[in-house]
């Protein structure tokens, strides 16, 4: 096949943010109908580059060309006019608007032969809805134009974003971390859609930090690190390890090294647990299991099958309807979160920014959130700053938290370092059980590697670990036993060595095990 023609060329793009050179002489190009993956860790400059292409930021140097025409992109309006569309990582949709309203916003009269510039022009929702329907059929992007966006699952919202770009006749589509919020099934749907788009001549820039995806879907791969392009390659010429090394700048061990588990006594016993969710519906429907010291039990399942409620119940954050929770043979059912922590629980919560940290507090303060009231940190109700200081400095060193000082607001740290603060606080205490819910979500390869190592180290020290994750790879590589959760119930519990990825996928989708293992 002949080399496809270049549609987009970015040369020498440079962008400074106060204190950071976000893009340093970046070159990037895109051919017609190709999927070009832009790979890099958080903060590598991928999003900055794409925001420049979309007109949200203006570069200090460099040029952007489509075909032979040089572009001046002062605002998204200019980018849209040149056929550039972007699906942002955090969707740019208005939840209370209908699909049609979201799609027509900013392009209200584009369906007319002669667009009308009057602010008081009447919205023609019916005609736009008809066109949305047409587009969605043409590209296999099923959306209901009348639905309210906030009621739709994220996978469908993403389709709305893509239709929104196509409605504006995008020929270049930027997808920023499109699979970050998707279940594996939704991600597969997305890949099918992307292929369909490229068959129709749309060129796709696919921003991600997930290596497997890149190799599966991209025609070409450009890797960025620290604001620079490290190199461009193709899936045929490279492999996961090489890409990871390019991203991180050193060799990365992707395969988690771990020895067989030596489980001993029972630490956590959960018996016939029933829990309701915020809406009062039963989310956990009679779950029983146990975790022993020195093993990692993984809970696999598609998000929203009761994992959140289960973990909240097991940490004392949510009331149980019935059933018992025993930690170290203490019945903790209905006790406060503090009772759980004091009995030896470490909790790495699902949403680190909302439930794991007080973002406006300093790192030193966040590191004592669990035991600020106890000596040596609190004496007669007064916080002992000196103990706090030495504690913080010790943990920052032990857990390799990258920060200029223990006294900056934790919210200023990168996601990986924020997670390290939580891990440091939770795992430095004398604990018998670690409950980690999605501990590596949204983190870069380096941080993921680090957190995985810490979790294994805890297990080898004889701590029981309960790992909840929607990433099947994470569960497969860390857990010793795997329990599959579906619709608030455990489908089955198996040894990791005795199961395949495919089999787990089936159970996660609700299939029943044939034999009781």
């Amino acid at each position: 096949m002949a080399e496809k023609s270049l549609t987009l060329e970015m040369r020498g793009i440079t962008k400074n943010f106060p204190g950071v050179l976000a893009n340093d002489q970046v070159d990037f190009d895109l051919r017609e109908g190709e999927i070009h993956a832009l790979l890099g860790e958080n903060g590598a400059g991928k999003s900055t580059l794409m925001n420049i292409l979309y007109g949200l930021y203006q570069a200090e140097a460099g040029e952007i060309k489509i075909g032979t025409e040089a572009l001046h992109l002062d605002s998204p309006r200019d980018a849209i006019r040149h056929g550039i569309g972007m699906v942002h990582q955090h969707f740019m949709l208005i939840p209370v608007f209908s699909v049609t309203e979201n799609i027509m916003l900013g392009a209200e009269t584009d369906h007319r032969a002669a667009p009308n510039d009057s602010p008081l022009v009447r919205l023609d929702r019916r005609e736009v809805a008809r066109r949305v329907q047409q587009l969605s059929q043409e590209y296999g992007l099923e959306v209901d134009p009348k639905a309210i966006v906030g009621d739709l699952p994220v996978g469908v919202q993403q389709r709305v974003e893509i239709v929104k770009a196509l409605y504006r006749q995008a020929r270049i589509l930027i997808l920023d971390e499109p699979t970050a919020v998707l279940t594996p099934q939704e991600a597969d749907d997305l890949f099918r859609i992307v292929h369909k788009l490229t068959q129709r001549g749309v060129s796709v820039i696919f921003i991600t930090h997930k290596l497997k995806e890149v190799l599966a879907i991209a025609d070409r791969i450009t890797v960025m690190r620290g604001g620079k392009v490290v190199g461009t390659t193709t899936p045929q010429e490279t492999n996961e390890n090489q890409l990871a090394a390019m991203m991180v700048g050193r060799e990365v061990i992707l395969k988690v090294e771990k020895s067989p588990a030596h489980p001993t006594s029972q630490v956590l016993e959960v018996d016939h647990l029933h829990v309701r969710d915020v809406r009062g519906l039963e989310a956990v429907r009679g779950i029983s299991f146990n975790v022993r010291a020195g093993e990692i039990l993984g809970i696999a399942g598609v998000q929203g099958n009761g994992q959140t409620e289960l973990v909240e119940a097991l940490t004392g954050l949510r009331r149980c309807e019935s059933g018992t929770i025993k930690l170290q043979n203490h019945d903790l059912t209905g006790k406060t979160p503090r009772a759980f922590t004091e009995t030896g629980l470490a909790h790495i919560p699902e949403d680190r920014q909302r439930h794991g940290l007080v973002l406006s507090y300093t790192i030193a303060d966040n590191l004592v959130l669990c035991d600020y009231y106890k000596p040596p940190f609190g004496l007669r109700g007064v916080i002992q700053q000196q103990s706090l200081d030495s504690h913080a400095r010790q943990l920052i060193q032990d857990f390799d938290i990258r920060t200029p000082s223990p006294y900056i607001a934790t919210g200023k740290l990168s996601g990986g370092n924020q997670q390290k603060v939580i891990v440091a606080r939770e795992l430095s205490r004398p604990v018998q059980l670690v409950i980690a819910n999605q501990p590596t979500r949204g983190l870069d390869v380096g941080s993921i590697e680090y957190i995985h190592k810490e979790i294994i180290a805890m297990r080898d020290r004889g701590v029981a670990v309960l790992l909840v994750s929607a990433e099947l790879d994470e569960i497969m590589s860390l857990a010793d036993r795997i329990a599959v959760i579906y619709h608030g119930q455990l489908v089955t519990t198996v040894n990791t060595t005795a199961v395949t990825r495919e089999q787990l996928g089936l159970w996660m989708a609700g299939a029943q095990p044939e034999t009781t293992a």
Partner: protein
């Protein structure tokens, strides 16, 4: 705005009217009582309706405006001042003076709103503080100028408050004047006169503006963009909408509506200005806006409830003698006087359930 809310309001209004009909029905025909109460309700609801519309335009675009009270007060003063100047110094006719007064009130509201927009959009000052600044400024400026211009010995008017050019006429009067020159509309004024339809211009425009605002917000490009900017400004930005511009214009539109509400006080209701005469109406208007879930019709309905309770108060004073002994507590004027405020509290503390403000209400937009 759902039907549950509207029927709730309907029931409250019927109850309020029912009380008066029960008490005064023997002396005066119920029909007349209802007609007069409706007229009072519509009139009293006017500044609340306009104030609520003002709040809706600001907050739908994402700017909280608690300065409506101050904008109304300033507009009431400057509108009135303009009409007096026109009438007594430049000697224009009352009709022209009053019209200029209304326009001056609208302009004043717009200018105060421009200040609010400048503070909250350009300088990203906390919007509650910005609104408070407007309220304090309005009280100070109007009180000071009122004293200096009219009551100081060396003032322009030399210690005499000149006569105001009067008040805006009711619709039937205006029609009579208009028809006196024309042929064939003689029956029209008498048809309107004496019924609830005989309202004054600001009251009538308030009702029309409810309909217009509803259309603009939900059926035009401007409305779609306004709501987008108030819900998720970043999303609006990514489709090429100038968030700051949309916000500025909506805040100024809101201010002009508050200005028109101000004109109600000194040009349509009474022909004079008193310090602090808006008396919390701007805040009740905000309550009506919230009650109506940031929709024009919902807010109007809420404003009518407050209007109806005022009408109850006025009529109960009128029928005080015939209040049955069992309801003697209603003879206490303060009991009835409190009714609008108690209703505000009851309604807002959740008789009506949850309301949802625009998601980005009160948040400055950072790129």
């Amino acid at each position: 705005m759902d039907w549950r809310r509207f029927s709730f309001i309907g029931i409250i209004i019927i109850l309020l009217f029912g009380v008066v009909v029960l008490i005064g029905g023997e002396q005066i025909s119920p029909l007349i009582i209802i007609s007069s109460m409706l007229a009072t309700t519509l009139s009293v609801a006017t500044p609340l309706t306009l104030g609520a519309l003002s709040g809706i335009f600001c907050e739908r675009a994402g700017v909280v405006n608690i300065g409506i009270e101050g904008m109304m007060l300033a507009a009431a003063f400057f509108g009135w001042l303009a009409s007096i100047y026109m009438n007594s110094i430049f000697e224009y006719s009352p009709a022209i003076s009053l019209t200029i007064g209304v326009l001056a009130a609208i302009l004043t509201g717009g200018l105060f709103a421009l200040l609010h927009a400048w503070l909250s959009i350009t300088f990203k000052v906390d919007q509650i503080i910005g609104g408070t600044v407007i309220n304090i400024l309005a009280i100070g400026v109007t009180g000071f100028l009122n004293r200096q211009l009219f009551f100081d010995k060396g003032s322009i008017f030399g210690g005499n408050v000149p006569h105001a050019p009067g008040l805006l006429p009711t619709l039937s009067k205006a029609l009579t004047v208009l028809c006196s020159g024309a042929q064939g509309c003689g029956g029209l004024p008498s048809l309107i006169a004496g019924t609830i339809f005989d309202q004054k211009p600001v009251a009538i425009s308030a009702i029309l503006l409810v309909i217009v605002a509803n259309y603009v917000l939900f059926n035009t490009r401007w409305g779609l963009r306004t709501r987008a900017v108030g819900e998720h400004p970043k999303a609006a930005d990514t489709v090429g909408i100038d968030v700051r511009r949309v916000r500025y214009i909506n805040v100024v539109i809101g201010g002009m509506l508050a200005g028109l509400a101000g004109a109600y006080f000194t040009i349509e209701s009474v022909p004079s200005f008193e310090p602090l005469m808006t008396n919390g109406r701007g805040f009740i208007a905000l309550a009506a806006m919230i009650f109506g879930n940031w929709t024009p019709f919902g807010a109007w309905a809420a404003a009518l409830v407050f209007g109806a309770s005022q009408a109850l108060q006025i009529n109960l004073q009128f029928f005080r003698e015939s209040i049955p002994p069992a309801w003697a507590f209603l003879q206490q004027s303060y009991v009835v006087g409190l009714a609008p405020y108690i209703l505000t509290m009851l309604i807002l503390t959740g008789v009506i359930g949850k309301t949802t403000p625009p998601a980005a209400d009160g948040q400055p937009y950072e790129k």
